[in-house]
Symmetry: C2
Subunit: 252 residues, 2 copies
């Protein structure tokens, strides 16, 4: 009897946004793994820390921040080897995944190494994109809108093409690409209908109209763009120019 | 003191995929509203039914199935008027939303009528798209993939254009459009890399390679398409042709 590998979505940051299923399985697993930077806290662990017990064995998968966007595959080779021993011993392993495990998550690097050899179960989680729309107080997509999720690291030309073809857009992984993407959206005339969000659902959450967002952005930041006459925004009582008002209310 | 309107995401179907926050607020609200068909059960209510108490007042928002895709706005005018009385009396109202409240949900029709007049809080939920990828055992999007969510009711030409521009694709609201979309994907040579899913996370869940999916599809069905050399599927130990194998394992 080998153990089962669980990929648990722990949501965007608020520990209360874990699902009942993720919490049950997290508490039941003797071994808990999670991605961790070489310096500082693991975000995934910080979300679930209140649910961990001293009896559980923790296994941080240390991914140096500087290569986070281009993970060194040997890190996951080592982690998969270590965790496969645990699974081989018949112990279940919970892997904590920020947001949803299969939505741009690093869990896939473990999954692709272990899925063929051990039973795996993925518990979907609340993604930062849905949490972002909730925090902004504006529907992400409605009716027959096409929703496009665009990673910020893509080149300008590609982002522009995707923007042109979409109704609702979430640009994720903004981080060091913030200034470039902000300039791009300004050029496209979309600044007024875009909201900037960082640390969604956490105490340090920041939500601003893109026009008011300045300086640098953390890796886990996002821009939601609401465009197109067919888009829901035209059906709301408030205009997109009033995102600012909503935001200041939230801030007060 | 007026009451607060809560839009609670109850997830794709499995009651255990509610978040801790949604459950807490659901139990705390004296009034619980949800969309309901004119005949048969409310799906949103069925997901949360185990958490409801006899002390709570239920308010079904009856939307005839035949117009579900083009909701009659007067239905929401009436519901908003009724619920605004409750909120005016200082009672909190929980609105149960399948999946995530702001991801193609009908909650927005209430929200756009009440958000300006009463405090509102949206609790994001697990969307069927994330749950679908988890059920299929295949990451939805990875690295710098562009993820596009396409509503099935859109015309062929538009769906084809969006397919051409995307890396990962979720086609939702398949329902009566199933045969047309299946033919379209066949024409695009994508049948082999597409999975068909219905009633995700429920006991009656059906997951099949698109090539094996036949007959009619319920409204809450979905097709996930994995295309493009840049896409994650090339990095998994199993090939897309083996979705069938995964599926039969799941079925057994």
């Amino acid at each position: 009897m080998t153990g089962t590998l669980y990929g648990l979505g722990v949501g965007p940051g608020d520990p209360e946004l874990l699902t009942l299923k993720a919490l049950r399985l997290l508490r039941a697993c003797p071994v808990v793994a999670y991605p961790a930077p070489d310096t500082g806290q693991s975000f995934a662990r910080s979300i679930a820390s209140g649910y961990l017990s001293a009896e559980q064995t923790e296994y941080p998968i240390v991914v140096p921040m500087r290569i986070e966007r281009f993970p060194a595959q040997d890190i996951y080779d080592v982690a998969a080897r270590d965790l496969s021993r645990v699974l081989q011993d018949g112990q279940d392993v919970a892997v904590l995944c920020e947001g949803d495990p299969f939505f741009y998550g690093s869990f896939m690097y473990l999954y692709e190494r272990l899925a063929g050899r051990f039973p795996c179960e993925i518990v979907p989680g609340v993604s930062s994109v849905m949490a972002g729309a909730a925090a902004l107080g504006r529907p992400l997509a409605a009716r027959n809108d096409v929703l496009t999720v665009i990673p910020g690291p893509l080149p300008d030309s590609e982002i522009s093409d995707r923007l042109a073809a979409a109704d609702a857009v979430a640009i994720i992984k903004i981080g060091r690409h913030f200034k470039r993407i902000r300039t791009l959206l300004e050029r496209e005339g979309l600044t007024g209908s875009a909201g900037y969000l960082e640390r969604i659902s956490l105490a340090q959450e920041r939500i601003l109209p893109l026009a008011e967002a300045e300086g640098s952005a953390p890796y886990f930041s996002m821009i939601l763009v609401y465009k197109g006459a067919e888009n829901w925004i035209t059906n709301l009582p408030v205009e997109s120019s009033q995102i600012a008002a909503n935001v200041s209310e939230r801030a007060s």
